[in-house]
């Protein structure tokens, strides 16, 4: 089947109108290699890395072609044959993929150092003094995009096991036992999202287990042609968390969740781990998916103006939602985050155009394909600003950073417009807003049961 229905949904085809930059074209190249009509060339390798891996094509494909599998296999083959090898690329790949993102304690150490650099004022001083101009051009471009590291990481905010405060007293139903995965970037830059994830699970009667030191899920590795490391990390994850012990294993990052749900396939011929991996896939749930499946409690408060006329004096805050590719295309979770946002009192959801179009973050795409990444960022930021919303919700740390950086740049004062045009919309995760709504009702009525009325 090569009907071309995927073409209009592919950001790189839309940018270039060239078939090789489309899913159909890429599959044709993969097939040509399979049929012996083409070698794995440098040009083929570059094409595989020009693909964002956003998986919009999988949503569009009526025939159900398994593009993610083809794409991961193709990238792994590109790496195996080494057609893109260069000393610089090899070093960066070794450092990030093999070294840093396989060692969670080391990653936190680097994060801590980055935090000190940012919080101590050294970073600001370096920028003011023009010291950053001494960096090589690639790093100079990337330096301002680096995530702002939070003061405390997940294990400093979340105890290994937390139970709802009044659970034994009020709950007649057995407690749900869930495990929360804290991620890598999420852990360093958005530990508050992890805290909020635990809070909303507690508020819905779950006993939450959060191992303090967790391995990377391996999505970075699988998406970048290192299936060996991806398998190793999956095994470590399975050693740490036994799916049989939990009702659900929760991920709150679209990119991680999409990969975490494929451990069964990744380890299908592993004699020791295959069965456990298959069980894992069934338990792995995105936080929004899980909350909706257990009929999460709607926070009490002023109903949003879209559902009923507001009697509250405080005006509703406007919000828009940007869909993480690997949440909406990778996991087909699109309605649930919106259901959560709509359930939050005092929020008015305004849909933004092309909400499921890639923002250009796409893992490490901002590093590997800066120009295309930036064009996609501009496109996204334009649509977000057009809604006039004060808040943008998104459920993936990569998107979160890409939006924050893009919005900050778009709303920064310029030479022609020295007065700042507007403060940029706040970027956050839906569960942070939900956790706040639960907290607000607890503050209003401190003794009310968390299980509602």
């Amino acid at each position: 089947m090569h009907c071309g229905m995927c073409l209009p949904t592919c950001p790189t085809y839309d940018e270039t109108k060239l078939e090789r930059h489309s899913p159909r074209g890429r599959i044709a190249l993969m097939r040509a290699i399979g049929d012996g009509e083409l070698e794995v060339t440098k040009s083929f390798g570059e094409e595989m890395y020009y693909c964002l891996g956003c998986l919009a094509c999988t949503t569009a494909c009526p025939a159900g072609v398994d593009y993610p599998k083809l794409f991961e296999t193709a990238r792994a083959e590109v790496e195996r044959q080494g057609v893109l090898d260069s000393p610089k690329r090899d070093f960066i790949r070794w450092f990030a993929v093999r070294f840093l993102f396989t060692r969670p304690r080391l990653l936190r150490l680097v994060g801590r150092a980055l935090y000190l650099w940012q919080a101590s004022g050294l970073q600001a001083m370096a920028r003011r003094s023009g010291l950053t101009n001494l960096l090589p051009p690639d790093l100079r471009r990337l330096e301002p995009q680096a995530p702002v590291i939070q003061r405390r990481f997940s294990h400093q905010l979340i105890r290994p096991v937390e139970r709802p405060a009044d659970a034994p007293a009020v709950s007649t139903a057995p407690l749900r036992r869930v495990a929360v995965l804290t991620g890598c970037v999420q852990d360093l830059a958005f530990a508050d999202v992890n805290r909020a994830t635990v809070d909303v699970l507690l508020a819905n009667g779950c006993e939450v287990h959060t191992p303090p030191v967790q391995p990377c899920c391996g999505s970075l590795h699988a998406h970048n042609g290192d299936l060996g490391s991806a398998r190793e990390l999956a095994r470590r994850q399975l050693d740490l968390i036994n799916p049989d012990d939990f009702d659900a294993i929760i991920s709150n990052a679209g990119g991680c969740g999409s990969h975490l749900k494929t451990y069964g396939h990744l380890l299908h011929d592993d004699p020791v781990y295959a069965a456990r991996a298959a069980a894992w896939d069934k338990k792995l749930k995105d936080i929004h998916e899980y909350l909706v499946s257990i009929h999460f409690r709607r926070p009490l408060g002023t109903p949003s103006p879209s559902s009923a006329p507001s009697t509250d004096l405080a005006p509703a805050r406007t919000i828009t939602y940007h869909e993480s590719c690997h949440l909406c295309h990778g996991q087909k979770i699109s309605a649930q985050p919106r259901a959560i946002l709509r359930a939050i009192p005092g929020l008015e959801l305004r849909e933004c155009a092309e909400s499921s179009w890639c923002c250009g973050s796409a893992g490490i795409y901002t590093i590997t394909q800066p120009e295309t990444a930036e064009r996609l960022q501009h496109r996204k930021v334009g649509h977000v600003l057009a809604t006039g919303a004060e808040i943008v919700a998104t459920a993936n740390p990569g998107c979160h950073l890409q939006l924050e950086n893009g919005l900050r740049a778009a709303c920064a004062p310029t030479v022609s417009e020295p007065a700042s045009p507007a403060s940029p919309p706040i970027v956050t995760h839906p569960v942070v807003l939900l956790a706040r709504a639960y907290a607000a009702e607890a503050a209003a009525s401190p003794r009310r049961s968390i299980h509602g009325t």
């Binding site: 009907c3 071309g4 090789r20 044709a28 083409l38 060339t41 040009s43 009526p62 025939a63 072609v65």
Partner: protein, 466 residues
């Protein structure tokens, strides 16, 4: 020049192309041109020598003059969604891809016309008309990516053909580049225009064999004030066919009257998840549009007629969004069938509507005779069927049976006064059968026209006929 030398493009040809268009608009590397070796048609592929992306009509004229000078065949292409192999390259050919000439140039609300470059996407044309309160009816299944130039070249149909006709019925004018590079405007914005031969219509459906369409002037209609979509479920294929006959006999012409058999509707449901009844033997998807009162009357009459023919249920789409969802799901039918087998050979034979029920039974018999898996869906209201053979092109034994079944379906169609293609064009897929349908003298007349306009046989040679 010998045939052997013709397959490798000479450097002089390519450098002249690059000098004019810019190197980035001429592709010759294997990784770049491999994806242009096929269109939407199953089991056909052929690598071209080069792919060029003209930006203007003058570029196209230049390419054609240059190709003529170098005796190089030219195959014009849009998004490559064709289903008859019409835009399949020839060995050594230049593919002229018009995908980057995609501007909508004018929406003229005073004259109800729209003018666009050939590479404009059909869906965008529909949307531009819609934004002005107007309506461009032709809606081929691939409309979200097909180009208007490709629609004109293949005279594409769609779901609304029953009431609104096909692409030809909306073409008021064309800009065409001829084989010698001359540029002609055919047609005008005038509703009535009988000046000279109607050459505009000659180019509609000419599949790139007579010239290259570079601009299209389209007729638009006022947007219908109301629409209603109905979904009728049947426990037998015959009952669905009888319901279609009953609707037409009651002198009701719905906008769409689509049929899906069980295999097709299950695949569509697996993809689109719009709530189609998986246990039904067949469904009809019906849309009526027009004045609100007329729509209400028609919808009610259709409900009664379907019930009288034994429909197990007839549901109305509750909202316009649900109606759009159902139509979009239906458009995915051909692609969705690939969920069952990797290769889907799609037919588009069309019979007079009175022959529908008989034709469906004939297709079932042919499937049995050749031991093949055939799913059937189609535009029942206009007699246009899509029996789709589900197979695997790597299974050579089965592919022989597919060819035999294909020939039987055509035979059966012609016996019933039908046509070998209702909307996909002849291209390569239907080429062997054209002469049988047209008869010797009509067939010769087509060749005479081709020789007059393309004496050197460089424009998409080997398509429609040899």
């Amino acid at each position: 020049m010998s045939t052997a030398a013709a397959s490798a493009a000479p450097a002089a040809f390519l450098s002249a192309l690059s000098a004019r268009l810019g190197a980035h608009r001429v592709l010759t590397e294997r990784e770049d041109i491999l994806p242009y070796g096929f269109d939407g048609t199953a089991a056909l592929k052929q690598l071209p020598a080069a792919v060029a992306f003209p930006a203007t009509t003058d570029d196209v004229a230049f390419c054609l003059r240059l190709a003529r000078e170098h005796r190089r065949p030219v195959v014009t292409r849009g998004s490559g969604t064709g289903l008859s192999g019409g835009s399949l390259p020839l060995a050594g050919s230049l593919v002229l891809c018009l995908a980057k000439m995609d501007r909508i140039l004018e929406v003229d609300a005073a004259n109800l016309t729209l003018r666009a470059e050939a590479g404009a996407i059909t869906q965008k044309i529909y949307e531009a008309a819609d934004a002005a309160g107007l309506f461009y009816p032709p809606d081929p299944g691939s409309m979200k990516i097909s180009t208007i130039g490709g629609n004109v070249a293949e005279n594409s149909g769609g779901l609304r053909g029953l009431k609104y006709g096909v692409t030809r019925d909306y073409v008021m004018g064309l800009e065409v580049v001829l084989a010698d590079g001359s540029v002609c405007w055919l047609g005008s914005k005038c509703v009535k225009d009988v000046a000279g031969y109607n050459l505009r219509d000659l180019f509609v459906g000419s599949e790139g064999t007579l010239g290259v369409v570079t601009q299209v002037l389209l007729k638009l209609l006022p947007k219908p004030a109301a629409r209603q979509t109905l979904l009728a479920t049947f426990t037998a294929m015959d009952a669905a066919a009888a319901a279609v006959s009953a609707i037409i006999a009651a002198k009701i012409i719905p906008c769409t009257l689509e049929f899906l058999d069980q295999k097709t509707l299950r695949c569509v449901e697996d993809f689109a998840k719009v709530g189609l009844p998986r246990d039904a033997a067949a469904i009809l998807l019906i849309e009526t549009d027009g004045h609100p009162a007329a729509v209400a009357d028609e919808a009610e009459a259709i409900e009664k007629l379907c019930a009288a023919q034994g429909a197990s249920s007839v549901k109305r789409a509750a909202t316009p969004a649900e109606a759009v969802q159902l139509a979009t799901a239906r458009r995915s039918a051909f692609s969705a069938l690939a969920r069952l087998r990797p290769t889907t050979i799609l037919e588009d034979v069309t019979v007079p509507r009175s022959e529908l029920a008989g034709m469906i039974r004939a297709v079932e018999a042919i499937a049995q005779k050749h031991q093949l898996n055939i799913a059937t869906f189609g535009h029942f209201g206009d007699g246009n069927l899509h029996p789709t053979i589900l197979t695997d092109e790597r299974d050579h034994a089965e592919m022989h049976r597919v060819e035999a079944a294909f020939a039987d379906i055509v035979e059966e169609t012609l016996k019933r006064g039908g046509t070998i293609t209702g909307e996909h064009g002849v291209g390569l897929a239907k080429k062997p059968f054209l002469k049988r349908q047209l008869g010797d003298q009509s067939y010769e007349l087509l060749r005479l026209v081709k020789r007059a306009l393309d004496p050197e046989g460089l424009l998409n040679p080997g398509k429609i006929f040899d």
